[in-house]
Structures are given as C-alpha cells and as structure tokens.
C-alpha cells in the first residue's frame, strides 16, 4: 500500500469524523441549553429528570452508550433498523452525551450572570425569552467559551469511539490499515491529523474570544 493510498483512505475517514463532529455540535449545543434550563427549573418535574439525565450520561462510558443505542432497539424490541441506523445511532449517542456536559457548562454560565441583569430587563419590559436570548445568553457565551473549547476539542478525539460501531471514521480506518500493513505509521499520521484539527479549532475559538473582547463586566 502506497503512502498516497493510505492518505486517501485516512482522509476519507476524516470526512466521516468531521460529519460526526459537526452533527454532534449542531445537536448537542442547543439541546444542552434546553437541559440546562430544565435542570435550573423550580419545577421538580423538570429539574429531577434533567439531573438524572446529566448524572447518567456523564456517569457511564460513552462507548457503552453508543453500543446501547446501536443494539438496544434490536435486543429490546426486535426492531430491524436497516443499514443507515449505525450512523444515526452514533450521532444520537454523541449528541445525548455531549448535551449533558454542555448543559452543566451552560448552567455555570447562566448562574454567573448577576440578578441585576434580569431585574433591569424585567423593569424595562423585556419578556422572559427576550431577556434570556438578548441579555443573558450573549453574556453567557462569552463567559463559557473557554470551557466549551475544552469539550469541543475533546469531541474531536472522542469521535474515534465510533469505531465500536464499525463506522468508517478516521481512527477505524487507521486501525484497519495498521493491522493489514503491520505498521504504526497510520496511527502516527492520524494523531497528527487530529492535532491539526484541534489547532484549527483553537484558532477559531480564539477568534471568537477576540470578537467578544470588546467588553467586560
């Protein structure tokens, strides 16, 4: 196998990795807000399930969660979910898991916003949702961006867990090539590619931080 072939297989895997990464963020970033709001609700019927959700998804291995979602429907309900299910199950697993972590980061940010901001908005007549989306959330995002960056970088590498479902993302491909070629080179290249991806994300995050550096409180 030439170096070129190895690279083309790995880069195809990287495409799948990127797909999982983007879909996970698109799903878990908004879902995290919903769970954080439920978690902070004064209604126990909302806050208790949210607490349980966060505790369970953070307290069990993501790898097990992926497998449970992949195989659960068949073993529990004898559902045959077709060939697409593998990828869908993978995305569901990642979204649900990351939403739990994001929810706690959102919560830390939302709770750090002074009460006076809510009160000023209330007196000016802003509705609850206007207050949240216009006044609170923008300030929350500035405050939680470093913590979010941590999770997002972790997600880049966590996508490799999709190998347990046999999804052809980059790490799965590297493993296959390494086994066939009896070589560590694919792993080394893969590590480098992950790192480059993370550098790119670090750069994007620093741009975001700079964009919001025009004020502080």
């Amino acid at each position: 196998m030439t170096f070129q072939t190895i690279m083309s297989i790995l880069l195809a895997g990287l495409g799948m990795t990127a797909k999982i990464f983007v879909i996970t963020l698109a799903g878990s970033l908004p879902l995290g807000i919903v769970i954080a709001l439920a978690r902070m609700s004064k209604f126990k019927i909302l806050s208790w399930p949210a607490k349980f959700y966060i505790s369970f998804l953070r307290g069990t291995p993501l790898m097990l969660q992926l497998m449970a979602i992949m195989f659960g429907p068949y073993y529990l309900f004898h559902l045959e979910l077709g060939t697409n299910w593998k990828f869908v199950a993978c995305c569901i697993g990642f979204i649900l898991n990351y939403a739990a972590y994001f929810a706690e980061i959102y919560r830390s940010g939302i709770q750090s916003i002074p009460k006076g901001q809510h009160e000023a908005a209330a007196v000016l007549g802003y509705s609850k949702s206007q207050t949240f989306f216009l006044i609170v959330l923008p300030q929350v995002i500035k405050r939680i961006l470093p913590a979010m960056g941590n999770e997002i970088i972790t997600l880049v590498k966590d996508t490799s867990l999709a190998f347990v479902l046999g999804i052809a993302e980059m790490f799965t491909q590297a493993k296959a090539i390494a086994a066939r070629e009896v070589s560590m080179l694919p792993y080394a290249i893969t590590a480098l590619i992950y790192w480059i991806c993370c550098l790119l994300i670090e750069w994007l995050l620093s741009l975001g931080e700079k964009k919001m550096a025009y004020y502080h409180d």
Binding site: A122, L124, Q130, L134, I135, Q139, D217
Partner: protein
C-alpha cells in the same frame, strides 16, 4: 392626579415581615425622597412598586391601572398584559446601574423602546440623542459600559429609564456606589429632572440632597412609614423621636 399608589402593603421574606402596612401615593410632578436606615424597608418598597417583588397584602395601582388588589386579605395581581402595561409607566434606576455590558451606550438606551415598545426608529433615535445630550454623554454613544466611569454609567442608566417615557421614575440609592465627585454629577442630573417636574421617588442617604430636591420626604423604619412631610420641614425639624435619632446619627456621619 395620582401617578402611583401603594396601599397598606405587607411584605415578608419567610418569617421576617419587612413591610408592615405601608401606604404611599405619588402625585404627578411630585419628587419624593425616602430616607431611613438600612433594613428599614425602603428598597423593598421600591422593589414591590416596580414588580420585582410580590407582596402578600395590600394594593398597587398606576394611574387607572389596577396592578394588584387586596381581596379577602390577600393580594391578587392583575393579568400578565396589565402588568406589562404597568411596566411601561415606570422606570427604575438601580444602585449598581445594571447596564447591559454587551450593549453600547446607545443600544442600552434605545433597545427597550424599539424592541419592547416597538416605537418608530427615527423617533427613538431622536429621543435618545436628546437624552444623551441632557445627561452630558455626547461622544460616548458607541462605547460600552465598562469604558465609562461609574457616574457616566449611572447617567446612561437614567437615560435608559427615561427613553421609555415613564410616568414615574424610581431611584434606588442611585449614588451609593459612587465616590463624592461622581455622586455630584449624578445628583445634578436628577436635580435637573426635578426642575422639569419629572415625577420621581428617590431612596437616598444624601440628606442635603433630599432636603433640597424633594417636595416631600418619607422616613421609614422597621417596615413602616414613621413620618412624612414637606422635605425641608421634616429634615430640619423632625417631629418623631425615631426620625430625630436617625437624622442626628447621619449628621454625625
């Protein structure tokens, strides 16, 4: 004409009764100072009037709008749309300004009129420009609050409250977070508003200011209004023993 009226308001935090039957009525154009020691219920009274707190007994109205009414010894609040309407009739200036730090000065002032009141953009911008000039904030329109001094921030907060055209403006210790120099510039704009007969209720520790600017001063202690009367009279010649004790203490610093 009565702009705002609180009647027999009782408010407790847990078992601690903070307001024990307070009635206060503000006429159009009147400037009322509320004085008293910390913990006497002054701020809680303002927070009840501005709907930041709910009270258990008593009633509250803004002009013809009945906001909260006592029914069988318990306060019942009006529906959401009435409360929203009432919020358009008052403004509140906080001790800590509570400006929106991510908004520029101009946006702090114009956002609520545009978004909440849905007023015409040209008109709001014009109103804001006048307020900015009046508050001595020219050239600061595009700055964010953390680039301003405390006194400037408080003047932005006053402009923000005024831009919604409230019938009455409440101040909750507007200068307590400021040093004497900055206090003076904030007091100056409040004084100017008083001269224009803006209806205002000011909780303050600045006795000289209350005496000079307010038409009427209310002394609160222990959750009740102990004494009220024309400003100069009450501060120079208090009738009640508790008022005298409080005022002599503040004079000593």
């Amino acid at each position: 004409m009565t702009v705002m009226s609180l009647e027999n308001v009782h408010k407790s935090f847990g078992k601690n009764e903070v307001l024990k039957g307070v009635s206060l009525s503000i006429a159009k154009g009147e400037v009322v100072g509320i004085i008293g020691a910390s913990g006497g219920g002054k701020s809680t009274l303002l927070r009840c009037a501005t709907l930041l707190e709910t009270f258990e007994r008593g009633s509250l109205s803004y002009g013809d709008l009945m906001v909260a009414q006592e029914v069988d010894g318990r306060t019942v609040y009006a529906k959401k749309d009435v409360l929203a309407q009432a919020k358009q009739r008052f403004g509140l200036v906080f001790q800590n300004f509570n400006l929106f730090p991510h908004y520029t000065v101009l946006k702090n002032i114009t956002d609520a009129p545009l978004r909440v009141q849905k007023r015409d953009k040209d008109e709001v911008m014009q109103t804001a420009a006048q307020l900015i000039e009046k508050m001595g904030l020219q050239g600061k329109e595009n700055m964010v609050p953390n680039e301003l001094s405390g006194g400037q921030q408080q003047r932005v907060a006053i402009a923000r409250a005024l831009c919604s055209h409230p019938d009455i403006l409440f101040f909750d210790e507007p200068t307590s977070a400021l040093d004497p120099l900055l206090t003076r510039e904030v007091l100056r704009v409040i004084r100017q508003l008083a001269e224009e007969h803006m209806t205002m209720v000011i909780v303050t520790h600045e006795m000289a200011f209350a005496r000079d600017v307010a038409d009427r001063v209310v002394f609160m202690d222990g959750g009740v209004i102990v004494e009220e009367g024309p400003a100069a009279e009450l501060i120079n010649n208090p009738q009640h023993e508790r008022t005298r004790a409080f005022l002599s203490k503040t004079e000593q610093g």
